[in-house]
Symmetry: C2
Subunit: 143 residues, 2 copies
């Protein structure tokens, strides 16, 4: 996804196309796993292309905006007190997290397809979504 495409996405969501927003969105696109607001901030200020100053609050506000427009997903993983963010992909996914090296592996397929239907009948809740994370030790770390 290039700069223009991102600009069009912003326009489609009716939010202004600013350089910080572009940088944050591009950065998120480049991430293969969820990242913290702090990581985004630090990597962007470190980045030479981004000479102009960027503020932590700006990052938080940008993430809030993206969230409001459902362009990204926010999660709190494991016992970490910080939230993590990632681009919202169409296909809904779960992750397998290695408790030793923190590597995150996406899992294909969702084991809860049939279950939610059943649950909505027994609980009378209208089920909207779910969050599932699985923790374990990856092959490398088992050695």
């Amino acid at each position: 996804m290039n700069q223009e495409a991102i600009g069009r996405l912003f326009k489609a969501n009716n939010i202004k196309n600013t350089k910080h927003r572009l940088n944050v969105y591009s950065y998120l696109l480049s991430c293969k796993q969820p990242v913290t607001a702090d990581a985004i901030y630090l990597d962007l200020v470190r980045d030479s292309r981004n000479q102009e100053n960027l503020n932590q609050s700006t990052v938080y506000r940008i993430l809030d905006t993206f969230l409001k427009h459902q362009m990204i997903v926010k999660t709190t993983l494991g016992n970490d007190s910080r939230a993590t963010f990632e681009i919202k992909h169409h296909e809904h996914r779960h992750h397998l997290i290695c408790v030793s090296c923190n590597q995150i592996t996406p899992i294909s397929g969702c084991p809860l397809k049939g279950y939610e239907k059943m649950l909505s009948e027994t609980s009378q809740f209208k089920i909207l979504e779910h969050k599932l994370e699985i923790f374990g030790v990856c092959p490398k770390c088992q050695k």
Copy 2:
């Protein structure tokens, strides 16, 4: 579970039997859903039986002790930034969260029993645990 039984539980875990610990543990026993440290604190100080002063840090420290001894479970639910705590039941549980009124309902049974075994074979991960939360609208809020 009465006061003596709780006292025995403390002794079994080799921790001192103090009135605050007793109050916190009893309170958790009485809760049908996970509660925040703040809720525990506020309810206990409001409680007339608990004339003596109780401090927020004491609550946090007591919860830490219970956690260390695996007497309770800690989770961060939904988008709330606060952790919640509940008595550790033998059977592992998940929760159904109403996105409208935030009420939390425990679900009995876990839909991932067989799945994890399969996943450990296909992924080569050694699966340790998982976190599952389901979001929806409760019967009351649907009206």
